[in-house]
């Protein structure tokens, strides 16, 4: 058996080529993902390993610096101050304590462009000891910054941008751009810098003024005296800390464990996502593999029957086929492993070339090798299981008959009933889930989507007849006899056509579902931005940082500005729950914001009343004329009249109030944006004037409604493009499947082709026949995929509706049509080689074959 199987593999190696390629591509994807994520994870781990060496205990204020959110902005969040640092330093177990301030900085290169990606440049403070040095940041040139006009820059950033000691550089935090003098260039083990980021150092007072308040810190790092353990120091530190939920203390060991865990979580998220796409590709591969073995077995019917006739048992036949699959699986996944290692290395080199990844070698873990080989082998053998059982059913008498056994009608009836049951149940589940909506509908929709797909695959042979018959007349009209024959050929073995098309269906279902969801979300956001807003521009700071209150007067007095309003994002408590409240300038409100009022009036905001959105009003049982009781950020409580109820809007938030009512109850303003209207509407001149008046800070954004929509939709399309790219592998494997099916069909129909040539069909006609068959199969798979994808996207939109206001299903018909067209072209491409082969067949050889 062993030898027969091996000989079969060798005899049909040409026909197994596509199968091998499919397994190879799928496993290469798996191996590449694992090698890449392992290597990146290791490199990140390495880059962090040394950064916590000098820290015994770290105290962190999560309500300060770049971690701070609007919800941290209340009186219960206590700061870390000079006093805290001194108290820690004075502890018996502490050798030293260092207060640090960190936050994002926008540093311009000599050409005036922002250095690095957003958030990639950090600012911190220089803490010189008695000797004038800071051991955390050894200076390679110059000295540390000592006043508010000086900074030090990390060595790599300085080298990359040609900064030298004495140079003046442009830098901004959330205020106007500052001209700073570089006093020193330092080295650091900071993991963010190792991963390609930049770091600038200010003197402590400047850093505090830029990021916090005078005398405050984001973090305090304490070093234990020799003989004092980290744990001991931690227990000394805890009692002297301000008691507030936003202040946490950890030992150095815990810190490095946490950061390792964070790296692991980050890489494993990416790894899981990539492996999911690899899984899809392999799943598509199953169709191809199974189809190949089915075709091989059909071609070998007589041989198999002969084996049975001379005494081979059914089990032996099955085993021989499975063994053949095993050989294919092993060969192909070995190839896949090698290719995957190459892909992993290439990917790391490519992504690391921009300096965004820490350096490090390639990690090929034993798990990678085992998982890759196992996946490849299991997928191949599982895919060959059904065909192998079918092979064992070949009766010995088939050796005597000349016909290849046709698929019996009965088994299709059984198949169709099963498929219809799956499809129907799935459809019902999805509809039910979509009806429920929200998170409770997620399970039925997810399970239903799976059932629909399975049902559709089981039903494709049945569906192939009417759907392909649709293109028949068109083909016949346009391409005459070649078109007619192509249609007949596509229909003659529904199982084969179905398996080939299904592979494409999977890819197109996912791609078109993503397209529809993406378009729907973009649509909803566009509606929100354009319907709730009348302002021409919104001034905001990147990375979710608030606009500095010091920038406000300059914005207001910019030439051409007719009205401005802040959006002050604060969190209050109502009925014991956190609630986001936005403060607007009441006198300009009506000129900048246009909520869709359902009850009451928007003007009530001018009389000190609050406007609430529909869902918040419902959940708090508030109605117009009633009142709400808030506990404000500064701890005071008060009652506010409800002046109106508006349609939910992600942009406006759940509650709007007059800033003059809100601000006396806050600890600090948090301007998430400043809205601006121009005397002459939006104009490039006004945009530029606003940029100028905010000090041309590269971190400050001045965006019109269109720009906001555009930015958002470009983010979505970037995400979509990445996913399309990853699904490309699945589509590629599906295309291999089409090539494979056609090549095998041409091989099987050799005599027919020879006969057609003899009675006068020319080479072009033969080519056209094969190509059109391919186009028919591809179109069938694509149309099915797009249809299922649209339906599932519709269901997904029903689920998302509750979390994104104004979401309705948008059908980008043009794009979906383009997919179908692209599929037809792909079909044409897949047929190139098989069609060429068919047209080159020697007539006499073909006729004589029997």
């Amino acid at each position: 058996m062993y030898r027969t199987a091996l000989r079969n593999v060798l005899a049909s190696k040409g026909r197994l080529l596509m199968t091998m390629l499919a397994v190879l591509l799928g496993t290469a994807f798996v191996a590449g993902t694992m090698v890449f994520s392992d290597s990146v994870g290791q490199a990140f781990k390495d880059s962090q390993s040394s950064s916590f060496d000098n820290i015994s205990v770290q105290v962190h204020n999560s309500a300060a610096g770049s971690d701070a959110k609007a919800s941290d902005n209340n009186s219960s969040a206590l700061p870390l101050t000079d006093a805290t640092v001194q108290r820690i330093a004075a502890l018996p177990g502490a050798q030293s304590a260092r207060g640090t301030v960190t936050g994002f900085a926008g540093l311009s290169d000599p050409q005036g462009n922002l250095i690095g990606e957003r958030g990639n440049t950090q600012g911190s403070n220089w803490v010189p000891g008695a000797d004038g040095r800071d051991s955390t940041y050894p200076m390679v040139q110059g000295t540390g910054p000592v006043n508010s006009r000086q900074i030090a820059v990390d060595q790599r950033t300085a080298e990359k941008n040609g900064f030298k000691v004495g140079d003046t550089v442009r830098l901004a935090v959330n205020g106007p751009v500052m001209q700073m003098t570089v006093t020193g260039i330092f080295t650091t083990v900071d993991p963010q810098v190792k991963a390609g980021g930049s770091l600038v150092l200010f003197d402590t007072a400047t850093a505090q003024q830029l990021y916090l308040k005078a005398g405050q810190f984001t973090t305090i790092q304490a070093v234990a005296k020799p003989g004092t353990s980290e744990q001991q120091l931690l227990s000394e530190v805890l009692p002297v800390l301000p008691h507030s939920g936003n202040i946490t203390a950890k030992t150095g060991v815990k810190l490095s464990a946490d950061s390792t865990a964070a790296v692991q979580a980050a890489t494993s998220g990416m790894r899981t996502a990539l492996l999911a796409f690899a899984g899809i590709a392999l799943f598509v591969g199953i169709f191809l593999i199974s189809n190949t073995f089915t075709m091989l077995i059909a071609q070998r019917t007589r041989e198999t029957a002969l084996m049975r006739a001379i005494g081979a048992s059914r089990r032996q036949i099955t085993n021989s086929v499975l063994l053949e699959a095993l050989f294919v699986g092993v060969f192909a996944s070995l190839g896949g492993l090698l290719a995957g290692i190459g892909i992993g290395a290439g990917l790391k080199a490519f992504l690391g070339s921009g300096g965004n990844l820490p350096a490090g070698g390639l990690v090929i873990a034993p798990t990678t090798v085992v998982a890759t080989l196992l996946t490849g082998v299991v997928v191949t053998v599982v895919a060959a299981l059904l065909p192998s059982i079918r092979a064992s059913r070949v009766p010995p008498v088939a050796a005597m008959s000349s016909n290849d056994q046709p698929a019996t009608q009965k088994s299709l009836v059984v198949r169709n009933s099963i498929g219809a049951a799956f499809f129907g149940t799935g459809l019902a589940a999805v509809l039910y889930g979509a009806h429920l909506g929200g998170s409770s509908g997620r399970l039925p929709v997810g399970a239903g989507a799976g059932l629909i797909l399975i049902g559709a695959f089981v039903l494709t042979p049945l569906l192939s007849r009417p759907l392909i018959a649709l293109v028949g007349p068109l083909f016949a009209r346009l391409y005459g006899v070649s078109g007619k024959l192509a249609k007949q050929n596509a229909l003659r073995n529904p199982r084969r056509t179905a398996a080939t098309a299904s592979a494409l269906t999977i890819g197109l279902t996912l791609i078109s579902a993503l397209t529809v969801i993406g378009a729907s979300v973009t649509d909803a956001v566009t509606k929100q931005v354009t319907s709730g807003m009348k302002a021409d521009y919104a001034v905001s700071v990147m990375l979710g940082e608030p606009v500095s209150p010091s920038a406000l007067p300059a914005i207001k007095s910019t030439a051409g500005v007719s009205a401005t309003s802040v959006i002050d994002s604060q969190y209050v408590k109502a009925d014991g729950r956190d609630l986001s409240v936005s403060g607007f300038d009441a006198d300009s409100f009506s000129r900048l914001v246009a909520p869709t009022m359902l009850d009451g009036s928007a003007g009530a905001i001018g009389q000190g009343a609050a406007l609430v959105d529909k869902s918040t009003a419902a959940s708090h049982h508030w109605s117009v004329g009633g009142s709400a009781r808030f506990t404000y950020p500064n701890g005071s409580t008060g009652t506010v009249r409800i002046g109106g109820i508006y349609q939910d809007s992600g942009l406006l938030g759940p509650v709007m109030m007059s800033e003059s009512v809100l601000s006396p109850h806050t600890t600090a303003p948090y301007y998430s944006a400043v809205l601006v209207s121009g005397t002459a509407g939006a104009s490039p001149a006004l945009e530029q004037a606003l940029k100028d008046s905010t000090g041309r800070n590269p971190l400050v954004q001045v965006q019109s409604q269109q720009q906001m929509v555009k930015e958002f939709s470009s983010q979505i399309s970037l995400l979509l493009n990445v996913m399309y790219g990853l699904l490309g592998m699945a589509v590629l494997i599906a295309v291999l499947g089409v090539v494979n099916t056609l090549a095998m069909s041409v091989f099987e129909r050799k005599r027919e082709i020879g006969m057609l040539r003899a009675i006068g069909l020319d080479r072009r006609g033969i080519k056209r026949m094969v190509r059109l068959e391919s186009v028919a199969i591809a179109l069938f798979g694509a149309v099915l995929g797009v249809a299922i994808g649209e339906f599932l996207a519709w269901a997904a939109v029903q689920l998302l509706k509750s979390s994104l206001t104004g979401l309705t299903t948008a059908f980008p018909a043009g794009q979906l049509a383009a997919y179908v067209l692209a599929a037809a072209l792909v079909g044409l491409g897949a047929a190139l080689w098989p069609a060429r082969r068919a047209s080159r067949l020697d007539i006499l050889d073909s006729i004589k074959t029997s």
Binding site: G480, V481, R492, R751, L756, A758, R763, I847
Partner: protein
């Protein structure tokens, strides 16, 4: 000379066909010159391996010739490219092979009209009806080949060859796979198409009875034409064959 030129549907002059080279060199046809006259039913006979199929293939433009020339009507095949040859086969030649003549996906009628479909021509309905009536398949036209008997399939193949009114029909052992009754039907049908429809038919056969349906029998041996006979009967053909055998054995 002129008259023969006009009335010859196909002609071979000094036709040679050599397969392989060196040790494996086989001369399948050795300087064969033969004419197939219009409106005549010719049978080609000879021992296995004598070159009958090769002669047919070369004259029908399915195979290239090593030397000499083959002509269909007044078209010399030697100089033709694949495209022109294909067109010639489509428009001027009908084929009936020993087996596998039909496309399994098409109905009997669609198989019959296939050459016209390929050419993009509308079939002549009166003629088609006449052909179908002659083959006696009127009630089977919608059937697929798999639903027809071997004899019926061959009749469909004959109808296809006739339907496009080719200048000549080549049939290679069309009755080879059939029982004698079905074979007789096919042969009767081919003879009628010659007698009544004026068709030219060339048929390769091993069966003296089949040959007796023809107007003329050409005998091939070792790639050469060794004899011919007009108005053959089964007995006379058998007799001639026996003489070859005896000659072959004595020589």
């Amino acid at each position: 000379m002129t008259t023969t030129l006009l009335t010859a549907a196909a002609r071979a002059v000094g036709l040679s066909k050599v397969y392989g080279e060196g040790d494996t060199r086989v001369t399948a046809l050795d300087q064969v010159s033969v004419e197939f006259v219009r409106g005549q039913f010719t049978a080609i006979m000879g021992p296995s391996g004598s070159g009958k199929s090769t002669l047919m293939h070369c004259m029908a433009g399915l195979d290239s010739v090593t030397a000499g020339s083959a002509t269909i009507g007044d078209t010399e095949l030697g100089g033709l490219k694949d495209k022109q040859l294909t067109k010639l086969r489509r428009d001027q030649i009908g084929f009936v092979f020993q087996s596998f003549n039909l496309l399994p996906t098409l109905s009997a009628l669609e198989n019959i009209t296939l050459p016209m479909d390929i050419a993009g021509r509308k079939p002549d309905h009166a003629w088609l009806d006449q052909v179908v009536a002659t083959v006696g398949l009127a009630d089977r036209l919608g059937h697929r080949p798999s639903q027809l008997s071997g004899g019926q399939q061959q009749r469909v193949a004959c109808a296809r060859a006739l339907a496009s009114r080719p200048a000549i029909i080549f049939a290679d052992e069309p009755t080879g796979n059939l029982d004698s009754r079905s074979g007789a039907e096919i042969l009767g049908f081919l003879r009628n198409s010659v007698r009544e429809l004026g068709q030219t038919v060339v048929m390769v056969t091993h069966d003296p009875v089949a040959a007796s349906y023809a107007d003329r029998v050409v005998f091939l041996a070792d790639g050469r034409i060794v004899d011919e006979m007009y108005g053959p009967t089964a007995d006379s053909v058998l007799d001639r064959m026996r003489r070859f055998d005896a000659k072959g054995r004595t020589s």
